[in-house]
Amino acid sequence: METVEKKAGKTTEVREADRVVVRFSGDSGDGMQLTGMQFSDTAALLGNDISTFPDYPSEIRAPIGTVAGVSGFQVHFGSKEIFTSGDEYDVLVAMNAAALKVDLPKLKKGGFIIANTAGFDKKNLGLAQYPEGVNPLEDESLTNYTVLQVDVTRLTKEALADSGLGTKEIERSKNMFVLGVLFWMFDKPLDHTLKFIEEKFAKKPEIALANEKTLKAGWIYGENTEIFNTQFKVSAAKLPAGEYRSITGNHATAIGLLAAAEKSGLPLFLGSYPITPATDILHELSKYKANGVKTLQAEDEIAGICSAIGASYAGNLAITTTSGPGMALKTEALGLATMLEIPLVVVNVQRGGPSTGLPTKTEQSDLLMAMHGRHGEAPLPVIAASSPSDCFDMAYEACRIAIEHMTPVILLTDGYIANGSEPWLFPTEDKLAKISVKFLDTPNGENNVLLPYKRNENLVRPWIKPGTKGLEHRIGGLEKQNETGNVSYDAKNHETMTRLRAAKIEKIADFIPLAKPDSGKEKAKVLVLGWGSTAGSIKMVVREMIDEGADVAHVHLKYINPFPKNLGELLKGYEKVLIPEMNCGQLLQLIRAKYMVPAIGFSKVQGLPFTTAELKEKIKDLL
């Protein structure tokens, strides 16, 4: 925050800022997710780079006013490139006492608190379990912050006094008042949200009017009230030129799959059972019926993958989407798909585990399950997305690999990037890689004999659709005779087939990009080796440290099985290799085992992404 200037009339300080983090926090029913999204979209539309982090409880409506029911939405926006949703916030919106209690620890010293005083009455203070007679807004506990007390509930009621709406509807509009205040505070126009309200409530004009009125009332309140005397100006970021849109990871995954279906010319089939935090992919793809997408909401996770196996067998681009517990249920069927050698994409949006674990919190703890979670020798390609928009690229890649190499592919994303959003310089159709599909339509062996497991130079067998005349044949989970695919219990044949299946997966390394540093050089004292959603935090820290003169580099893995061919060589260029993961060291095991390097793990299993501060501290220790 740099320059200061004065405005006419009311004395308002205008601060220029490169980056600001705002945390919207309230009860699950307070509409914080929607408020945060609206604010973020507006910031993005005005050219800020953004990164968002919805952080909500797994209970849909936990008891109102309690700590368990607090739902947060964090947005980091700026005039510089943004890679994370921010370690700490500059502004905390606390709709009630519980929200303040939960989120105060990560508010920067000197930060702003916008507190809805109606949420700090005796009842709410009690529900938030503040001791009898203690109100943080009235004691000395918040002296390190600038506290802006606003009776949002009362002001909303006043704004809507003659709207004719009931108390309940009026209550529901109070998030718009807060949003109005925030728009004033960050000098953002209301247009985008006004348009959103108009569209969302097109069929309920009285509700649309109420929201519009409340939003404007909030802005006017900020403009006129003495307590609001600071405005922030965050200029547009210098992002690469082009057309942008805002996208969440799950949305990007969905359209990545759609794009692969369109480019390959295959019909898209999704067999899926709803599970947090993966369900949005099912929601999104279900909207595309007009593009011929078939979505089947299966009776369970097993039927989700099995229906996809059936659809793939019948010649569709077949997908199943899930999260940890569902992944566990799909393992037997994954073995079948491995044995059948048919294309299949399994998306695992990881969450905290084991068991039900932390359904709405993020973790990277399913890597080893993705690698090894099948009985028998059953290697599969495993790839991982590193940011919300990267989910598009990796979903597309998953489809390409599955189809071109006739194999199930596991795509790992996680709750952090699945729900988080960022501006995306989206591609046009012509920029997408080609995906070649070939169905066998005549016998491929000598003397007009069909050999369903005869492999091409990449060890890939042909895809044969039922309905193709003259190619009737049987496949299954029993071990197959090489080439003919007939059932075989022959000892040596089993070893041959096991090794062929593994070699086919290894061969994929010839068709993926080589590893290279995202930041820093190919030789350095410390390499930070990451995978998945830690990309943003690592990138931010490593770039900052390089600017400060540190001898550090960052390599981010998107392809984990097989690893890029040059990874072993690349690792040799660094004295120390640090692997930060939101698990207890899973990539660490893989890297140590495969390359025999004494990599150092840095793990965090709190259901939360790494903060840049903790990463920086760890890297410094190694320099």
Binding site: D41, A44, L45, G47, A236, L239, G242, E243, Y244, R245, S246, I255, L258, A259, E262, P267, F269, G271, Y288, K289, A290, N291, G292, K294, L296, A298, E299, D300, I302, A303, C306, S307, I309, G310, A311, Y313, A314, G315, A318, E332, A333, L336, L340, F426, P427, E429, P466, G467, T468, K469, G470, L471, E472, H473, R474, I475, G476, G477, N486, V487
Partner: protein, 343 residues
């Protein structure tokens, strides 16, 4: 969809090259033969048949048919078949399963396939025993069954498959027997003709682990007393001399002797395939009435009533939305509704 083949095939054309490896005397041989016998008459091009099976003796069936086929994993054939049919509704999809595969490990898929009503045929070979694992009681074994895993007798109540299927809203429920080839052929043809999930329970003898379990329904000396063949529009009559009939007393079926009681066949229960209430009672003849032992076991089409089909509706919905909204171009999908430019 399915069109007649140019040159009619013979049953032999449906036999694969694989050597059949069921035990001598296994009821599965008869089922395979009947399926191969009726297939040339179904008017489906050979390449459009797809067999999907699970695990168990019954599920090896797939390997013996020269059609497309997938021998999958235990209990999941129905779930896989749902994906095959959804992806390509032109295929004639046949699920082959056993009492353990369909009703125990695959129970969830069994009920949901019926509920969703995919247009597939579901053959369950019921031998009331686990055979491939060498003789444990199954979910259709009778209470008290002594097996290797129940040396003191099973303490479990068995499923009644047709009752379960009706409870799961099956649109076609039939029962037939390995030892009655003609009856089985007729049932298979009806199952194929029915649009929607056709559930066919086939009583199948396991000569090794549960021999003669169903012989009472096929042996000359007993079958007329123990079995009743139900036919649409015909009265329920059985007995060595066709002297017994079944009629309703209130909501309860009772057995009457036709001549003695002065009752004519017209006064008896007339089988109506489309009557779900009667089908429910019929399906429970042998395990919930007060006269378990007296009632004969019904064979034939217990229930057949068409209703909306999942795979047809899936396609119809796509067509409707296509007409209404039109396809979104890939570039439009990529850009979404709201974009902004940075120069």
């Amino acid at each position: 969809m399915e069109t007649a083949t140019e040159n009619k095939l013979s049953p032999k054309d449906y036999a694969s090259e694989m050597e059949v490896k069921w035990c001598p005397g296994c009821g599965d041989y008869s089922i395979l033969k009947q399926v191969q016998t009726v297939f040339p008459d179904l008017g489906v091009p050979k390449e459009n048949f797809a067999f999907i099976s699970g695990i168990g003796c019954s599920s090896r069936f797939t390997y013996y048919m020269d059609t497309y086929g997938m021998h999958s994993i235990h209990g999941r054939a129905a779930a896989i078949a749902s994906g095959v049919k959804a992806a390509n509704p032109d295929l004639s999809v046949w699920i082959v399963s056993g009492d353990g595969d369909a009703l125990s490990i695959g129970g969830n898929h069994f009920i949901h396939l019926m509920r969703k009503n995919f247009d597939v045929n579901y053959l369950v070979f019921n031998n009331q025993i686990y055979s491939l694992t060498k003789g444990q009681y199954s979910p259709t074994s009778e209470r008290g069954k002594v097996t290797k895993s129940s040396p003191y007798g099973s303490i479990e109540e068995p499923f009644n498959p047709s009752e379960l299927a009706l409870g799961a809203k099956a649109s076609f429920v039939a029962r037939t027997l390995d030892r009655d080839p003609k009856h089985m052929q007729a049932v298979l043809k009806r199952a194929h003709a029915h649009k929607g999930t056709s559930f066919v329970e086939v009583y199948q003898n396991c000569p090794v682990f549960n021999d003669t379990a169903f012989f009472a329904f096929s042996d000359k000396e007993t079958k007329k007393e123990e079995a009743i063949l139900v036919e649409h529009g015909k009265p329920l009559i059985f007995g060595n001399n066709e002297e017994k009939g079944i009629k309703f007393e209130g909501l309860n079926p009772v057995i009457v002797t036709i001549k003695e009681s002065g009752i004519s066949p017209n006064d008896l229960w007339i089988h109506d395939e489309k009557d779900k209430t009667k089908a429910n009672i019929l399906s429970r003849f042998f395990d919930t009435t007060q006269h378990d032992d007296e009632f004969p076991r019904p064979f034939g089409i217990i229930y057949a009533n068409e209703r909306p089909i999942y795979d047809e509706n899936l396609v119809a919905q796509i067509d409707t939305v296509k007409l209404k909204k039109g396809k979104t171009s890939l570039n439009k999908i990529l850009s979404g509704e709201k974009t902004w430019s940075i120069n």
